[in-house]
Amino acid sequence: MSVARTVGWTVVAVVLMALAVPWFLWGSAGVAFGLPVWLWWHIGWMVLASVVFAVFARTDWGLGVEGVH
């Protein structure tokens, strides 16, 4: 059970890192509401990361760190 959760959260962490830069907008110069579109992605992504981290801290904090031999 704990292995499954560790793997799950690891995947979440990797996805958070992998898409912190919106690679699919590479080269795009679109502007919305006064800022580049990729910057809006960044703003949304950082807020999402905070929420995900808060959920992790509430539910599974200690996973993979406590009691590891």
Binding site: A20, G34, A49, S50, G67
Partner: protein, 509 residues
């Protein structure tokens, strides 16, 4: 001239207030090492969050970053977001929480102490502290350089560079000698909140003057359309990833950050800091770096050897406000530097001086304790003075200097992580991993090979990148291979305690 007096008055007044906070904290600090260096492990959420944050509030953020956005486009925001908001937060959990648990159980104050105990190795302890002090040097120098440039930029050259750099040096020496972790953490908190507010006021002020973000961005699209497109120029995917990873890894091994892993009051404090981190990073870097990028569209001219943010402020905001921002930025650099010097002095006394003293067979007497405190203070004065002198002569931009230091620290991260989680790690694995990666990286930063080859008349140069990846990243991989490889072929020495890092969550409560 009246302007210069006003500007210097504001900068001076701010510094005095910052110093007063340090004095109050000093009166509350007892002289035990755990209190002096770790505030007795009692830092709460707000203070821990901001004192960690404040180490980001450095010359790198206020001057180096916006300069880069001004010259190459605002994608630097993404690099900092990935590195600081996400990778660092993950490392905060994986390394920081683990170190906190281990440190709480065994009473460690420094990284070197933690590793030296586990591997039963004083040389390892000295090596880790020595490597850290070496890379701390350029980063302290970066703050002094930033302060010198700030004063030059603010007063348009009326006050010379060395006054700013020298002034900040003097301040931080007094500060570290007078205050301990508590004073440093308190001023960090005040300055963090103050600077974060000022950055937003500056953005509001400038955008109001030019007619809003839409106008400012449109102006940028006219002059530098390539800045708005993601990537291009300096920003290749490899460069962005290399920089983000090496800085994030480096940040965790900075003495002042790493030591904060030991200083949290409780598990809850670590959790909250972890969750708030990405948002705090967002709130700081987006406005700071967009200022730099917009300045390019607004046709701001930056004098040689100066920085874009002061130039922009001088053009769009009143003198007193620009001076206030510069005062805040200088105070922020000071607070980064005093954190660094404080942690550096704990590394010096506990991990270098104490083991050497033991070699010469001296005991732990009251006279010895007093001498150790003296060594710590002399060390701080010598370190800060040398880096000040170096800041007067060293070329290189703020970002280059900062990046060099970060990547140097980053070489420590993988061996430390392996030590924390893999009991198969051996003493020799650590020597090889840390030593090998450092040698590799140093050879790429300093022209050692080129010079030696020149002596025998050959022309050899190491590559500056490996398929687009920086030597910093290649060094990290090398550290991984060496630590694992050598650990596998060597056996655990009898003095090693592989199980010492086994901790349960129960310890935390």
């Amino acid at each position: 001239m009246a302007d210069t007096a006003l500007q210097l008055g504001i900068v001076g007044a701010y510094m005095v207030v910052a110093l007063a906070v340090g004095v109050v904290a000093y009166r509350l600090t007892d002289r035990s090492a755990e209190d002096y260096y770790l505030a007795s492990r009692t830092l709460g959420t707000v203070v821990l969050l901001f004192t960690t944050f404040a180490t980001l509030l450095s010359a790198f953020t206020f001057f180096g970053g916006p300069n880069l956005a001004f010259a190459a486009g605002p994608e630097w925001i993404l690099v900092m977001g990935l590195m600081d908001g996400i990778i660092f937060a993950v490392l905060w959990y994986v390394l920081g929480y683990k170190q906190w648990l281990v440190g709480k159980r065994h009473g460690y104050v420094t990284l070197g102490e933690m590793l030296g105990d586990r591997f039963g190795s004083t040389p390892l302890r000295v090596l880790v502290a020595g490597v850290s002090l070496v890379w701390l040097f350029p980063y302290v120098m970066l703050q002094q350089k930033g302060a010198g440039q700030a004063i030059v930029g603010l007063t348009e050259g009326a006050v010379p560079f060395w006054v700013g750099a020298g002034g900040i040096t003097l301040f931080m020496i007094v500060y570290v000698a007078a205050s301990g972790m508590r004073g440093v953490a308190w001023t960090d908190t005040l300055q963090g909140l103050f600077m974060l507010s000022l950055v937003w006021v500056a953005v509001a002020w400038i955008l109001a003057a030019v007619g809003g973000a839409g106008e400012a961005t449109a102006a940028l699209a006219e002059t530098n359309p390539e800045f708005l497109a993601l990537g291009g120029g300096l920003y290749s995917p490899q460069w962005m990833l290399s920089t983000a990873i090496s800085i994030a890894f480096g940040v965790t091994m900075f003495p002042q950050i790493n030591q904060r892993f030991f200083a949290a009051e409780s598990k809850t404090v670590l959790k909250r800091t972890f969750a708030l981190w990405p948002v705090l990073v967002l709130l700081l870097f987006v406005p700071a770096f967009m200022l730099g990028a917009w300045a390019a569209g607004l046709g701001v001219t930056v004098p040689e050897g100066s920085n874009v943010v002061p130039a922009l402020l001088a053009q769009y905001t009143p003198t007193w406000f620009a001076a206030l921002v510069i005062a805040g930025a200088m105070a922020a650099m000071m607070s980064s530097s005093d954190s660094m010097l404080l942690s550096g002095s704990s590394y010096l006394t506990r991990d270098v001086y104490r083991p050497l003293k033991r070699v010469f067979g001296e005991g732990e007497t009251a006279a010895e304790d007093a001498r150790e405190a003296l060594v710590a203070r002399i060390g701080v004065v010598a370190f800060a003075t040398l880096s000040f002198v170096a800041s007067l002569y060293t070329p290189g931009t703020l970002v280059q200097i900062g990046d060099t230091a970060f990547s140097g620290f980053a070489q420590l991260t993988v061996p430390v992580a392996l030590a924390l989680y893999w009991q198969g790690t051996t003493r020799y694995g650590m020597y090889a991993g840390i030593g090998g990666a450092q040698v590799f990286y140093v050879f790429h930063v300093f022209p050692v090979v080129e010079t030696l080859a020149g002596v025998v008349g050959a022309s050899v140069a190491l590559p500056t990148a490996y398929a687009g990846w920086t030597p910093g990243i290649v060094g990290i991989l090398l550290g991984l291979v060496l630590t694992v490889g050598v650990s596998l072929v060597t056996s655990t020495a009898p003095e090693e305690k592989p199980a010492v890092y086994r901790v349960d969550g129960v310890d935390a409560d």
